[in-house]
Symmetry: C2
Subunit: 432 residues, 2 copies
Amino acid sequence: MCAQLLPTQPYKGTRDFYPDDMRLRNWFFGKIRQALELASYEEYNGPMLESLEIYIAKSGEEIANEQTYNFTDRGGRRLAIRPEMTPSVARIVAAKMGELNYPLKWFSIPNMYRYERPQRGRLREFWQLNVDVFGCDTYEADLDVIESAIAVLRSFGADETMFKVHINNRRFFNDVIAAICKTDADGAKKVSKIVDKKNKIPRESYVKELNELGIADEQISLIDSLYSMSVKEATALCPESVGTQELLSLFDMLEKTGLDKYCVFDFGIIRGLDYYTGTVFEVFDEAPENNRAMFGGGRYDNLVGMFAKNAKISGVGYGMGDVTLENFLFTHNLVPDIYKTDVKVLITRFDDVPYERYLTIADTLRQNGITASVYVGSKKFGKQIDYAVKGHYSHVLIMGSSEAENNTVKIKNLETREEAAVSVSDLVSALS
Amino acid sequence: MCAQLLPTQPYKGTRDFYPDDMRLRNWFFGKIRQALELASYEEYNGPMLESLEIYIAKSGEEIANEQTYNFTDRGGRRLAIRPEMTPSVARIVAAKMGELNYPLKWFSIPNMYRYERPQRGRLREFWQLNVDVFGCDTYEADLDVIESAIAVLRSFGADETMFKVHINNRRFFNDVIAAICKTDADGAKKVSKIVDKKNKIPRESYVKELNELGIADEQISLIDSLYSMSVKEATALCPESVGTQELLSLFDMLEKTGLDKYCVFDFGIIRGLDYYTGTVFEVFDEAPENNRAMFGGGRYDNLVGMFAKNAKISGVGYGMGDVTLENFLFTHNLVPDIYKTDVKVLITRFDDVPYERYLTIADTLRQNGITASVYVGSKKFGKQIDYAVKGHYSHVLIMGSSEAENNTVKIKNLETREEAAVSVSDLVSALS
């Protein structure tokens, strides 16, 4: 067909999913769907290709261009393979803004592409769970979303020793900085930019930059102390803030529903300065060897406004990458043997028995909900058994010419190695 | 966030899936997965982006360039968004050729893009079920694959009045043309090119072109008659052909397993001249208003050879588009009310009852596998009921301050409009 052989590896930063990989992935996604649907979240999706401009509008020309796979189609439209779901879902909500049933509780598990150097936990092609509540701007929505993240992780068997949700509030953050520094919103913004860099720059530069803005050393100490305060201690510094009320309501309800054991107040959670407007949170892996933020989210107001005039639809949500989740589950031994429990039957074939005898048995088993297959083709018995073992079959059926004459079949359990002869009419009950 | 509003419609030829659409889609795909897994097919997947050259190798530079979304990455790699799955699966098989457990029975439901003018049933972004058996080059694999297509359609409730599988064999086609025209393989190839155009060019030109190749009118009549012959009549014209043996074995087994009522021999099924090498088939919608081929497939030998030296892995399979399948199911009224059977509970909220009372009920219901949600936010009771009705909830729970005091709750069935008061501890059994 062609003179030169083509390379077999997938494109850099992408993965092939062989049946074993796919089975694991379907199990992951199935558990996630189940946990979210139990809490009345509904699944949606959108196209892989979007207009590039929606990413430019959200993140600026440079980031949108650099981090997406983008190109121009023959009609001159600038397109991008979606690198995230938020602009898509804002567009999708805006398109039917007047018809939808708010508050929306929506989730999606889209595949997407980010143009960056592949590294551990960050691939170019990935799937990302996106969970959002749109159309409710009070703490109940924040709680619902955080509860859903906990429910997803718990559904895999994770407990409070394995993960923690670190929570802060951007309104509170701004207001407490303003209160401590005795400055207005603009002044607080300048201070916040430096506070946001606290752990990324040397202590000396940190203090110097704050001093240059007129912040005294005692004020810097007070800001420092916020990082080890409880939510009650921290909010007491700024009792009038709307953010304080949100934090207190949220933590009060977490406590009353017993979810507080999964959660902690953390003034260090900021998540960039331009996007989030209220509650922000990050979920940390508590494993000592992997102790870091796995994913996060928060409240972002009125993203739908990019698409619709006078839109006032606030959102709160998070995005969780598939690779991150997989690493977490493997780290904590939360992935079971996904082949263990299934009955899957290979019907072996002998050339001196009419093929339709086997096909009819397979059909009967399937009609009764039992996974079954006749060995496709015609190979020696030993090869067929090897095939069954390698293919995760739980049982093989053996019907040679003498069994065929008596209308019986031997069932061999491949795990226990036990064999039993049963009449064809008793097969379904023997395997159920 | 930006001065100008962005358009809300999805990119031309692509679709947004709102929760109702997604629910339908998950139902479709769930049924397909279930039917195929019952027959021991295993799911796989690959990346959306592939090297453009694999499509060029299969279909030529022009078609590959024209019909795919393709571009060059910063490393100079020519990439395409996959327009079909066959080259990907051939690559994936080739990459682990020596380790896999043949015959492979594999399926996938990937999303893909084709660059063409959108029209009814053909969109730019679509999902396509791909089913293949690799590594068995006898008729049993052809049968298995055809049986799987029938099983998928039957799982939706389709019967033999709604669809038919039209079957031919490319080896038989070549050999019977050679036999009738008394020519060799090369001569038969020239004739075949014209026969392939039979229904696309005027009868006059058809006859003329065949005459020019030295084919007499009686020979043309004999070819004509093949289109209305049974498989036994047709194969009798060319008893020595390997294709004849394959056809007879296949139809014999279809008859013995009762699948023949879904199948018919059809000499008109050719499916292009360069690709298929044995059994070919197309599945027709039998609805008078939509009577046409919905999808098809067949045997293609050694596609894996593009990637691996000395590969001898034959394949047989088909691809079924999601839009085609949806049209078929709607045409034949095979889509049930997908909301009908589920219990989904909205817990309404009153401001004078502590919120955690509601949250605790929701948690208890979910722990018992019942989909439940507390109304997120704080709106008037009537608005909350509207929300439940519009959101396909089956029941609402009502706990005002007097019920809260007595630890009871009213259950309202939104379909029957019946109300019943139960104690909180009996809720799970009342809803199960």
